[in-house]
């Protein structure tokens, strides 16, 4: 189990964290073009190497933060930064795993 360096708690099991995907910046909604916006929504760099990404310390301090992680060796580098936001509420994969059940929105 990967240890993720939370800037507040210190290294924590990845199971205690939510992965929030590639760090991206939100285009200004007032001036954005469809191309820019959909880039923000859907496109990914997905490098095999260093990746800036967001995590949420969901079972710990509940802070969002951004780190750089190597996607081949799983090393982390640089002191973590405050988080940046992602377009969809859960990462795509979390949703892929969530199955159909969690989607039923009972009131």
């Amino acid at each position: 189990m990967l240890l993720v360096p939370c800037p507040h708690c210190g290294p924590r099991n990845s199971a205690d964290m939510s992965y929030r995907g590639e760090a991206s910046s939100r285009p200004d909604p007032a001036s954005t073009t469809p191309a820019q916006w959909r880039d923000y929504l859907y496109m990914e760099h997905n490098p095999a190497g260093w990746l800036r990404e967001n995590w949420y310390c969901s079972s710990g301090c509940r802070r969002f933060f951004t780190v750089e992680r190597h996607t081949v060796t799983s090393e982390f580098r640089e002191p973590p930064l405050p988080g940046s936001k992602t377009a969809l509420p859960l990462s795509k994969t979390a949703e892929a795993g969530a199955g159909t059940d969690q989607q039923g929105g009972e009131k």
Binding site: S84, A87, K107
Partner: protein, 951 residues
């Protein structure tokens, strides 16, 4: 023949404790300390299984955990390692892979066709006629090896734990023991894990002096405070030294998983003896040197009467000595170091009869012992990222580059005298301790709650250990004949050669084509032989060919142990006990258990519509929002406007993700100047909390808003029905509940049934006059019981989720995730007026702007639908078709029979073409027939003007 020897000085059996057991329903007796196999051998049973493909009789090969031929069924437990599992009283042991019996196995006929059943023969046959393949498949499936699962095995109790040892040592041989002792003496907490039942590794079947050393080491380890786990295995090394240990010596549980975050891992796995490949090498009576040494010295079992020994090393020589001491006639010693070897073994199908040497001579023997060398079980090292390399001079693989937190010692890294091994273990333990200390220091300075350590972090110690030398060893893989390479998979060297010739000529392809190394020992016995045969076939070196990937687990681990105690959290509201006591039919909603109804949902609806009902809606997500910037937050997350919401008012809102897809909806009320309560859908509660936090923390860290989830801090009860006001008035003194003073979509704070600090909002999903009250949860049951008591004369009754669903559908309220799906954008819901494109910004705004632009393609529309036949309730998810075609133009998303209207009612999504009121729809029912239905003018089937609700 009596096979049990006179008492041996190192024997582990207790002759005072005989144990009765059965083998294939026949009765036998062994001793405590025996393994199943040693007890059976002592009883002169030699054949333990039939091989997978050819059903050849198989006897003992390694006499340890990895023995491929002695896997048996014990009671309901399949695939028990008979040469490892200790005998217990009244064990019922049976052979697994033989029919009708071990002695006479019909499938052995396969053996006759051996030359045709070459590797990959399946792929080349049963092609035509294809319709017969399912039949063939059924026949092939009968040949599946392994034991039988008893489908009545109960859901057992399993256990698990975490651990944070400084050092984990895998392997309790002399090297591992020495490392554990020295690490513990350096002040580290150490876990020593040994797969066998006793510590000592190979010393256990060595000389008296070896055993004495083992006992001494064991005692020192205990004295040093090492945590010792026997009959346990390190099954995996994962990221950041997350170590999986299967523990089998813990009282009360059969096997438990320990998840250890080790600061350093010492791998002292020793060596696994490797079989030699030659014709007849799988005949019963052909054994490895380690097997005979274990059998004689530990179990006092005579492995045969007349032996030939092929030896390439000291272990083989020691086996000769052991055999002679045990009274076995050693007919011939074949010394590989002198260039001698054997060519083939022959005999009856069940017993070795003679051995032919490479020089052509034949020796009669019922035992052939081979000491052909070792495989380094580098599995844990590979899992740590290492790619071991092959040394032809020593005829085995050695580690190359290990991460700092993994240290190898003992036979894995080299050879030496016992003293040298121990010395290497000691220095490895010291190194492990130093490195663990550095990690410990770092953790204590980075984990905030830890006590900060003194002084600077010690540097990572370079490896200054004096290495072990590598003893030269002949490369002894295959003789001049072909034989078994993978005993469990029945793959011969000939299969490998022909697979390579066919083009499956890389080690990965040959593995997949022949299944070599894919059996229970996962290559520990067969990998190097496979590679060696392939290298020979391709004219390459073993290093060039390389090995297949070693993967976890190191040793198989039960699903029960992996599962452990199943933690599946269950959430209930403060009213759960009441529901249970009142006949609720429960329904699972995520982690929540809720009342679906209390017997008759239809009657519950009618009661709400005529009297008053109460429903427990505690799981409704509730976020307490405080701070001056809450309106900004609401404006950002909801599609509608929030700046002007007065204190005491509530408003409905819809949230979208940035792609414009509906994410959640709910009501938010302003409780005070800077104090709001947001509600979300029950299933969205967790996700929306995170969503809110994300926007605040990442996009607007300057906004002053504090978010507190209070979902279960408040027991939420909806009191609905024409008599709801009357009822609530009986319990509330400090709030004016009159229609004039407390209007629809308002919120008040007050005391209910003596409980202060309750919120009451006038809203409702049911379409009736209703009050949703939120009561501090510790008093929830009190308020609920008071409602029931005080409402008795008003006809009060509880209602469940189903009644609520019916009523909301009568009112045409949609449910996010049921009437919308993962692609439903906000305008589809029909709530166009709630999408305020004149706001500067809100989540998903650009997409909604584009979706609503005149030139944009029209989106599907959510409409209320009424089937022509009022009795007909189309199932939810029925498709709506263009008449006379199978073209899908929509689907029913919700449907129920309405007790209030006495007809069926639906919501559905349709393409714009079919969305106009009055359009006739064709609904394809589940039984394949079609029904017609009409699109209605309003979403609300019932009371479209909302008179009742506002009453």
């Amino acid at each position: 023949m009596i096979r049990r020897l006179e008492p041996q000085s190192g024997e582990v059996i207790d002759r005072e404790s005989p144990l009765k057991f059965t083998w294939n329903s026949k009765k036998y007796v062994g001793y405590a300390g025996d393994t199943i196999v040693s007890a059976l051998l002592a009883n002169n049973r030699q054949v333990f299984s039939r091989s997978m493909k050819y059903h050849r009789p198989r006897g003992v090969l390694t006499a340890d955990y990895w023995d491929p031929n002695t896997t048996v069924q014990v009671g309901t437990e399949p695939n028990v390692r008979g040469a490892h599992r200790l005998l217990e009283a009244d064990m019922k042991v049976s052979a697994q892979n033989a029919w009708p019996s071990l002695d006479f196995d019909i499938k052995a006929a396969n053996g006759l066709f051996g030359r045709f059943l070459t590797a990959g023969f399946y792929y080349k046959t049963f092609i035509k006629p294809q319709r017969l393949w399912p039949l063939y498949e059924k026949v092939l499936a009968r040949f599946a090896p392994g034991g039988v699962v008893d489908l009545n095995t109960p859901h057992g109790y399993h256990d698990k734990r975490y651990a944070h040892p400084d050092v984990v040592v895998a392997g309790g041989g002399p090297a591992g023991l020495a490392a554990a002792i020295s690490a513990a003496k350096a002040g580290m907490s150490v876990m020593l894990v040994e797969q066998n039942h006793r510590l000592g590794g190979h010393l256990r079947w060595g000389t008296d002096q070896d055993r004495e050393t083992a006992d001494d080491l064991e005692e020192s380890a205990r004295d040093a405070g090492v945590e010792i786990l026997t009959d346990s295995a390190v099954t995996g090394r994962y990221d950041d030294n997350w170590i999986a240990i299967s523990q089998r010596d813990h009282p009360g549980v059969v096997e438990r998983l320990i998840k250890a975050r080790a600061k350093t891992l010492v791998v002292a796995a020793g060596l696994v003896e490797r079989p030699y490949v030659f014709s007849g090498n799988d005949l019963p009576g052909v054994m490895l040197s380690g097997a005979v040494r274990r059998l004689i010295n530990m179990y006092a079992v005579r492995p045969g009467n007349r032996a030939v020994v092929l030896t390439a090393n000291a272990e083989g020589d020691a086996a000769v000595a052991d055999l002679e001491r045990a009274g076995v006639e050693v007919a011939r010693v074949v010394d590989a170091r002198a260039g001698e070897t054997i060519s083939k073994a022959a005999g009856s199908s069940k017993q070795l009869g003679s051995v032919t040497l490479a020089d052509g001579s034949t020796v009669k023997a019922d035992l052939l012992v081979t000491a052909a060398g070792w495989t380094a079980p580098t599995s844990l090292l590979n899992m740590s990222g290492d790619r071991p390399s092959y040394d032809p001079a020593a005829a085995r693989f050695f580690p190359t580059a290990l991460p700092d937190n993994v240290i190898a010692t003992g036979g894995l890294v080299g050879d030496g005298s016992l003293d040298e091994l121990i010395a290497h273990g000691i220095s490895s333990g010291e190194l492990a301790a130093q490195r663990a200390a550095a990690v410990k220091h770092r953790l204590r300075s980075t984990v905030t709650r830890a006590q900060n350590p003194q002084g600077p972090e010690p540097p990572v110690q370079p490896d200054r250990r004096i290495g072990l030398s590598r003893a030269p060893h002949p490369e002894l893989y295959r003789s001049d004949t072909h034989g078994m390479v993978d005993f469990s998979e029945d793959v011969s060297s000939k299969d490998l050669v022909s697979a390579a010739a066919e083009g499956f000529d890389s080690v990965e392809l040959v593995k997949r084509f022949t299944t070599a190394t894919m059996g229970p020992s996962q290559g520990k016995l067969e990998t190097v032989n496979t590679v060696a045969v392939l290298a020979e076939a391709r004219g390459e070196t073993i290093e060039e060919v390389g090995t297949t990937v070693w993967r976890p687990p190191y040793a198989p681990i039960s699903l029960g142990a992996l599962a452990g105690r199943v933690f599946e959290p269950v959430r209930v509201s403060s009213l759960h006990e009441w529901h249970t006591a009142h006949n609720m039919t429960p329904i699972l909603a995520g982690q929540w258990i809720r009342p679906e109804h209390y017997g008759d949902p239809g009657a519950e609806v009618t009661n709400v519509r005529t009297n008053v009902g109460i429903i427990d809606v505690t799981p409704l997500g509730k976020l307490d929002l405080r701070g001056p910037d809450v309106p900004k937050l609401l404006n950002l997350l909801y599609t509608n406007k929030w700046s002007k919401l007065p204190v005491g008012r509530v408003r409905y809102g819809m949230m979208c993700a940035e792609d414009g897809v509906v994410l959640d909806d709910g009501v938010t009320g302003r409780l005070g100047e800077d104090h709001y309560l947001m509600t979300t859908t029950s299933s969205g509660a967790g996700q929306i909390w995170q969503w809110v936090e994300m926007w605040l923390q990442t996009e607007h860290p300057d906004w002053q808003v504090h978010v507190t989830p209070v979902t279960t801090g408040l027991t939420s009860i909806n009191i609905a029905g024409p008599k709801s006001r009357e009822l609530l008035m009986r319990l509330v003194d400090d709030v004016d509940l009159s229609a004039e003073a407390f209007e629809y979509m308002n919120v008040r704070t007050g005391t209910i049934a003596g409980v202060p600090d309750c919120f009451m909002w006038r809203i409702g999903f049911t379409g009736e006059l209703s009050f949703e009250v939120h009561v501090p949860a510790g008093f929830g049951l009190h308020v609920w019981e008071q409602l029931i008591e005080k409402g008795a004369d008003l006809g009060i009754g509880p209602f469940g989720l189903e009644a609520q669903r019916i009523m909301r559908l009568e009112k045409g309220h949609f449910i996010v995730g049921q009437d919308t799906d993962g692609l439903t954008k906000a305008p589809t819901t029909g709530l166009r007026a709630l999408i305020k494109l004149d706001k500067d910004d809100f989540a998903g705004k650009p997409e909604l702007e584009w979706a609503l632009a005149p030139e944009a393609p029209e989106l599907p529309v959510l409409v209320a639908i009424t089937p022509t036949d009022p009795r007909l309730v189309p199932d939810e998810a029925c498709q709506i078709l263009r008449e006379g075609t199978t073209e899908i133009v929509g689907r029913i998303t919700s449907s129920r029979f309405s007790p209030s209207l006495q007809r069926s009612i639906c919501l559905g999504q349709v393409t714009p073409e079919f969305a106009a009121a009055g359009t006739t729809l064709t609904v394809r029912l589940c039984d394949g027939s079609d029904a017609t239905a009409k699109v209605m003018e309003h979403h609300a089937h019932f009371d479209p003007e909302g008179v009742r609700l506002r009453g």
